[in-house]
């Protein structure tokens, strides 16, 4: 027994090493920088600095954009996931691969492609120009930034929802119809409540990267829509203010933890309605 547990410990060791090196150690660094000044003395000044109107605005904007992107992803992804889950197993595999296909390409390249599409002289406007429409100003707008988020994170919403929906027992749908549900109430009363766990993980997987993203807002927003991610990046890359950057990261983590906790609570209370 003792020997076996030793082997088990040994088997777990790579994971422990990984966690310590790449999760716990960086977190400690973040904490250290967040609560110290440039000379390494303990201080709260990094946090009080964040209460400036300009930073608060950035935090607010980040939360709003991430929230909008998540809601849009959910609205778009649910019918797609449902449609895929209804397909034959073979077709399902192909469709899921198509959903993931863009993720095989580099994130930067995909974002650049959207720039080429959305620019005033870009592909979409050139095309519309043939019919005498436009040019419509799309790049460097808030819409473009949210579009970038929705586009990039949509697969993270589709896949967990699909995986839950594809496991819903067809007999339950028949039972609901048998008891008087029309095709619409079958979805609202049975399919949707049963897919809540997938929706929760989808929301988590979209909201977290959306709120912490940078680069999308820089490229598609033209620098007009600074998000927390961009601001943090600037502290580290250009301003070299590690302490302020770390405190922002710390607050961002808090926002994520709080919002996820609230959402999970909603899901636990009554498996039904989240939004």
């Amino acid at each position: 027994m003792n020997k076996k547990s030793l082997i088990q410990k040994a088997a777990a060791s790579p994971h422990i090493v990984w966690s310590v090196l790449f999760i716990i150690a960086p977190l400690i660094f973040v904490m250290y920088y967040a609560f110290t000044d440039k000379d390494g003395n303990f201080t709260f000044s990094n946090f009080t600095e964040l209460f400036q109107a300009s930073y608060l605005e950035i935090f607010m904007r980040s939360v709003c954009f991430a929230f909008l992107a998540t809601v849009l992803c959910l609205i778009i992804a649910y019918p797609i996931a449902y449609f895929i889950a209804k397909a034959k197993p073979k077709t399902q595999k192909i469709l899921i691969m198509l959903v993931m296909l863009p993720m095989w390409m580099n994130f930067l390249i995909r974002t650049y492609s959207w720039m080429a599409l959305l620019e005033d002289t870009g592909i979409i406007n050139t095309f519309l120009g043939i019919f005498g429409i436009g040019p419509i100003h799309m790049i460097n707008t808030a819409g473009a930034v949210i579009l970038g988020m929705v586009y990039n994170y949509l697969p993270y919403m589709i896949i967990p929802i699909h995986s839950v929906l594809s496991k819903v027992d067809n007999r339950l749908l028949e039972a609901a119809a048998d008891l008087g549900s029309n095709p619409f109430t079958v979805i609202t009363k049975v399919v949707f409540p049963l897919s809540v766990p997938g929706i929760i993980s989808g929301i988590t997987m979209v909201f977290v990267p959306s709120i912490s993203t940078f680069y999308i807002s820089q490229k598609l927003g033209g620098g007009n829509f600074d998000l927390i991610g961009d601001t943090i990046e600037r502290q580290f890359q250009t301003a070299y203010n590690y302490n302020l950057g770390a405190s922002m990261s710390f607050v961002l983590m808090l926002i994520i933890i709080v919002s996820m906790t609230i959402m999970n609570k909603y899901a636990d209370d009554d498996g039904g309605v989240i939004i």
């Binding site: 027992d169 007999r171 339950l172 028949e174 039972a175 609901a176 119809a177 048998d178 008891l179 008087g180 549900s181 029309n182 109430t185 009363k189 049975v190 409540p193 049963l194 809540v196 498996g271």
Partner: protein, 377 residues
């Protein structure tokens, strides 16, 4: 039994992937009837049930409800409810909400108050002996309890017809017997027509008013349990329902049949002269007698004690008979057998003739095969 017809199938056929599942089925179901569709896996009994429920559309033929064609009426608009195999309870709802499901759907339209729903759910819970289980999670209930919830859920809407798809298949023997009685009581009390699907012949015989024996997508026989047992129409029915010795015979004349090299008196008539027939003799109707008094005699192959009786396999003219007797005989002993005229049942030759021979290959393994619990499709 009330003679008012409620459901009728006329010439119903169904093919899945080039395989004929149902072949020209005609069936009439009457009000307040307890009808059982009985047959082995793949005989089409579940498909018949699903056609009545509306989950399967027949390729040909008509489904009539109160003489109105309902082929294209979706399940949610039919006046039937189903108790599903393995229950299909909603895992996200508790016992109360599972049972109230059908009422919640029409709560707004019919302006049902919470009190009315509460009363109806409680009434159902009382009927299935589950009071006090309202708040329980259905995933934590035992099989028998889930079964009861499924029955209550299907009955709350007061359907004209309740369809039950092997509802007791997942329960252990003792519980199954109890539930059989309970279902029969519920059916009597509510007066709802039950259409019950099972592969268990004993269940079919003990619960039903009418048994429909199915095989190969066709109805082999419709009749009361006693008719089905005593007057099987062909070798399949005789073999599937209970134990039987099915012997090749020749009908010499009315009331006279010859088999195993001996001429027997019987009660059947109306066959052609010297018409080849299948003869059924039930094992419990064969009397063991001393050799000199026997109509036929043979050597005992094996004797198995079954509790109520001994099961004796005896070879007579190369045919292995099964005999059930309360008297012990020793293996290798020579015995005579005696068969009363009313114990002999004559059947016309059918596609099943010769498929169910004697008991030479009979073993516990085969006995086990005859009550498989595997699902259809």
């Amino acid at each position: 039994m009330n003679e008012k017809k409620i459901i009728e199938l006329k010439g119903v056929s169904k093919t899945f992937d080039d395989e004929i599942i149902l072949d020209n089925i005609d069936l009439k179901v009457y009000e307040k009837e307890f009808m059982t569709l009985l047959g082995p896996s793949g005989c089409g009994k579940t498909t018949t049930l699903r056609i009545i429920a509306g989950f399967v559309t027949p390729d040909n033929g008509e489904v009539l409800f109160d003489d109105v064609k309902i082929n294209d009426v979706p399940p949610h608009k039919r006046h039937v409810n189903t108790v599903f195999q393995k229950y299909a309870l909603f895992p996200h709802l508790n016992v109360y909400e599972n049972i109230a499901f059908a009422l919640r759907l029409k709560q707004k339209k019919e302006k049902l108050s919470e009190e009315e729903i509460y009363e109806r759910v409680e009434e159902m819970l009382t009927m299935v002996n589950l009071r006090g289980f309202e708040k329980k999670d259905v995933n934590l209930l035992s099989g028998g309890q889930q079964q009861r919830v499924a029955i209550a859920r299907a009955l709350i809407n007061k359907p004209r017809v309740l369809l039950l798809d092997e509802p007791l298949g997942a329960l252990d023997l003792k519980l199954r017997k109890d539930m059989q009685n309970e279902l029969k009581n519920i059916q009597r009390r509510t007066g709802i027509t039950f259409i019950y699907v099972t592969h268990d012949q004993e269940e079919a015989l003990s619960m039903s008013d009418t048994v429909v024996v199915m095989a190969n997508g066709k109805i082999q026989q419709i009749g009361s349990p006693t008719d089905i047992y005593n007057e099987p129409e062909n070798a399949f029915v005789a073999d599937f329902i209970g134990e039987s010795n099915i012997i090749d015979g020749v009908m010499l004349d009315d009331f006279k049949v010859r088999f195993s090299g001996h001429e027997f008196e019987c009660l059947d008539k109306g066959f052609g002269k010297n018409e080849p027939v299948d003869v059924v003799v039930r094992p419990e109707d064969v009397d063991v007698v001393p050799v000199d008094k026997g109509m036929l005699c043979g050597v005992v192959d094996s004797v198995t004690f079954k509790g109520v009786h001994y099961e004796i396999i005896v070879t007579i003219n190369k045919f292995k008979w099964m005999i059930q007797s309360t008297d012990y005989v020793a293996p290798s002993q020579k015995i005579g057998i005696y068969v009363e005229p009313d114990a002999i049942h004559i059947m016309k030759k059918s596609e099943f003739s010769g498929m169910f021979g004697d008991y030479s290959s009979f073993s516990d393994e085969l006995e086990h095969l005859s009550d498989v619990t595997e699902e259809e499709e």
